[in-house]
């Protein structure tokens, strides 16, 4: 694993939203490596229900970018076999909520193949899947199942928070020789959602993370990004919640340090540890349900490593342990009010 961000070969940049950045990541890697294939429901001619694969079939042909039957178990199983042949598949699962039929192929096959075969066979897949809520998707188009995968040995879990990160991380994921679950926060495909659902939506055109190199570059897996330096409290977040945290910090004026984890496994523990030891307070924010969520792992790690630096109990701000609701979406969502209250509490303690 390289520790430095590879600089773009060509330093031309342009404005992209996250979908365009993800599309560009597949485009530049497919042009470099003929072993890369893109597959999934509706990804071919149509270019995906979120348009993430638009134009790729036309450019690279039907044997490299193709539609699949509606069987997630089949999509991942076939991708594992293609990987065994020597291809580098990038399957799309249309919504993370649909990934469960593929769990056996991901957990028992892709994640375990290198180990069980003594390295004879590997599964260099990158499974892309839109996840998270805030789009009125109801319980079957809104879930955040990252904690299921971080619990599985042998698979990496990556979640970007900006178009720039999405492209660099996806290229790194595709080139990684281990299976990677790449969850795309669909609420921020088009703009950096700040948690205020009742205010006008923003797009990526004014956000620094929307300026994306047109060429090839990588952001190494396992490296977090400190998106805001601060002294009062450390906020650990990823995906959509990075932006919601940033808005709360801007609104309250709290001098918080916001750490965007970017990769959950392998986790950048050094950055987390350094930040919490500096601030003495740690708050974890994720949209996924609370019990056994990834926040529980983070809280355990922080108390194991930073206990004597902590001045307050570790706070978790999460979704509730309910199915993701439809009409009551914003009551479920860990928005600015929930985060703001937790901030007050952790700073008072």
């Amino acid at each position: 694993m390289t520790d430095t961000i590879e600089q773009p070969v060509d330093d031309t940049t342009t404005r992209m939203n996250m979908i365009q950045a993800i599309n560009s990541a597949m485009d530049v890697t497919m042009a470099r490596d003929p072993a890369i294939v893109v597959m999934g429901e509706d990804v071919g001619y149509f270019g995906g229900v979120f348009r993430a694969t638009a134009g790729l079939q036309k450019k690279y042909g039907k044997t490299r970018v193709f539609d699949t039957p509606i069987t997630e178990c089949g999509i991942i199983g076939v991708a594992v076999g293609m990987g065994a042949y020597g291809l580098r598949p990038v399957p799309e699962i249309q919504f993370a909520d649909y990934i469960y039929p593929a769990l056996d192929q991901l957990v028992s096959e892709a994640a375990r193949l290198r180990y069980r075969s003594g390295g004879e066979f590997t599964a260099p897949l990158t499974v892309r899947s839109p996840f998270g809520g805030g789009i009125f998707g109801g319980q079957t188009h809104s879930q955040s199942p990252e904690g299921i995968f971080t619990h599985v040995s042998g698979v990496k879990t990556v979640i970007p928070s900006t178009p720039y990160d999405a492209k660099g991380l996806l290229i790194a994921a595709i080139e990684d020789n281990d299976p990677v679950i790449f969850f795309e926060p669909k609420r921020i495909y088009n703009g950096p959602f700040n948690g205020h659902w009742d205010r006008p939506a923003e797009n990526w055109s004014k956000h620094p993370g929307g300026e994306v190199p047109t060429g090839y570059y990588k952001i190494p897996l396992g490296k977090a990004n400190v998106v805001r330096d601060g002294e009062a409290v450390t906020m650990l977040a990823y995906g959509t919640m990075v932006h919601v945290c940033a808005q709360v910090v801007a609104d309250t004026g709290v001098d918080a340090e916001i750490v965007d984890l970017r990769t959950l496994v392998p986790l950048d523990i050094e950055t987390i540890e350094a930040s919490v030891k500096k601030t003495g307070r740690c708050m974890i924010v994720h949209e996924a349900t609370r019990t056994s969520g990834f926040g529980a792992e983070l809280a355990a790690l922080v108390q194991e490593r930073c206990f004597y630096h902590l001045e307050a109990p570790v706070e978790r701000v999460t979704g509730f342990d309910t199915p993701y609701p439809h009409s009551l979406e914003w009551a479920y969502f860990p928005g600015p009010v929930r985060i703001g209250q937790a901030l007050k509490k952790i700073l008072k303690d």
Binding site: G77, R116, G118, E120, F121, D176, N177, D178, G222
Partner: protein
């Protein structure tokens, strides 16, 4: 709780609904009679052209391809007309598998390993297929196709090292015994989870086709695990992309203690699963090595000429328990194995060779002695590398190798914990 749930008033004259739960014909203590198992005479099945549309020979999914007749002659359109040398090689490989199984089963009983699975009575299914495929074709087996490895020349010492999880095991003792991985012999890593290899074989075959390769894939599962979703996902993918793949369903009648009725055998054949997918379906006498060879060669030609996948049901019988962990006398009649109407595949091939004047009892006895010696010698060699739980084994820290290509910090930390734990325990161990 008030009323009983689900009880509704009678609807006209209809009797109440009743649930059908399948039950095998024979249980422990029952006399066995397989007279009602339909066995068509050898040589009667027609042999379509490998380019024909699957819908034009769906009858073959309900009958049975058989080549060896009651007089031990090879008859009919499916006779593969193999040379005596090839027949003798197949016979020897089947005998080797049987001797290997016997030896390793006993090794498990002697406490030298934790687990073993024999293929007694089913040797033709894997061995004849291996002879009909090209050596470069990729196999995605289940756990009872050790015959593929034997027929492809995998050293028995290597197989035994894996079974013993010893220092010679290139899988570093990470897998349950017999879950081999032998890339050099075109043999995919075996999973303990059932039928996961089916879509994987399709993916491999699709990759081969998309790269303009000439190699095809073949995969195996038992009749019980055709119920898995992976089976149906695989067949859907295979028919959609006309993947160059051969699906083998080894119908050995029993899935541990569940008879084939729990996978749907009371209603139809397993070859008939192909019909709904528009895939070529063949039902084959799995104890007839020539029929298995002929069907596999037909399916391989079909796949290699871009005419699509084939599903072959091998109708056979699991003569022993599922594994070393179950006792078949607890759930089925002890009379079944000897009453099985399709006989012993080794005996049938041997009788054929004798009938055509290419073999005799003395040569058979010599061969049996030779293969037994070979297996014994391999075992002696393998045991120099240790047996499970006694002495030689992989270094402890190999436990953490291969989770990822590069070891992340959390695994390095856990490895150090293990090393400290071992040091504190005072137990000496070899860290290489």
């Amino acid at each position: 709780m008030g009323e009983e749930p689900g009880i509704v008033p009678p609807r006209g004259n209809l009797p109440p609904l009743s649930l059908h739960v399948p039950e095998p014909k024979f249980r422990p203590g029952d006399a066995v009679d397989f007279a009602d198992v339909p066995i068509p005479p050898a040589g009667t099945a027609r042999r379509p052209d490998t380019a024909d549309a699957a819908r034009d020979f769906t009858d073959l999914a309900y009958s049975m391809v058989r080549v060896l007749d009651d007089n031990h002659q090879a008859v009919g359109a499916w006779n593969p007309r193999l040379s005596p040398d090839t027949l003798r090689r197949m016979l020897r490989h089947m005998a080797t598998v049987r001797a290997f199984d016997e030896r390793m089963f006993r090794a498990q009983r002697q406490g030298k390993t934790s687990f073993y699975m024999k293929s007694l009575g089913e040797e033709a299914v894997a061995v004849a297929a291996a002879h009909a495929l090209d050596a470069e074709d990729m196999c995605f087996p289940s756990y009872r196709q050790q015959g593929l490895l034997i027929a492809r020349g995998c050293p028995m010492v290597d197989m035994m090292n894996q079974i013993y999880s010893n220092t010679g095991d290139k899988l570093q003792g990470k897998q349950l015994p017999i879950m081999y991985s032998e890339k050099r012999f075109g043999f995919f890593s075996i999973s303990g989870n059932l039928t996961t290899q089916y879509p994987q074989a399709v993916g491999w075959a699709m990759a081969s086709a998309s790269k303009g390769d000439t190699r095809i894939a073949a995969t195996w599962c038992g009749e019980g695990s055709t119920a898995e979703g992976d089976f149906h996902s695989a067949l859907t993918f295979a028919t959609v992309y006309r993947a160059p793949v051969i699906f083998n369903v080894v119908n050995n009648q029993w899935a541990i203690s569940s008879f084939s009725g729990f996978a749907g055998a009371e209603a139809t054949t397993f070859a008939a699963r192909a019909v709904g997918y528009g895939i070529a379906g063949l039902r084959v006498d799995g104890n007839d090595a020539l029929a298995v060879y002929a069907a596999t060669a037909w399916a391989a030609e079909r796949a290699r000429t871009n005419a699509g996948p084939t599903l072959i049901e091998h109708f056979t019988y699991r003569t022993e328990g599922h594994s070393t962990s179950d006792d078949p006398t607890q759930y089925r009649s002890a009379g079944e194995p000897t009453a099985w109407p399709l006989g012993d595949p080794i005996r049938r091939l041997k009788d054929h060779l004798v009938a055509i004047g290419e073999w005799d009892e003395a040569r058979q006895a010599d061969m049996d002695r030779e293969v037994a010696e070979e297996v014994k010698a391999a075992q002696k060699e393998a045991e120099k590398n240790g047996v499970l739980g006694h002495g030689l084994r992989q270094p402890l820290d190999s436990l953490f190798d291969g989770v990822f290509e590069e070891m992340p910090w959390h695994l390095r930390e856990q490895r150090q914990m293990m090393i400290d734990e071992e040091t504190a325990s005072g137990r000496p161990w070899d860290r290489k």
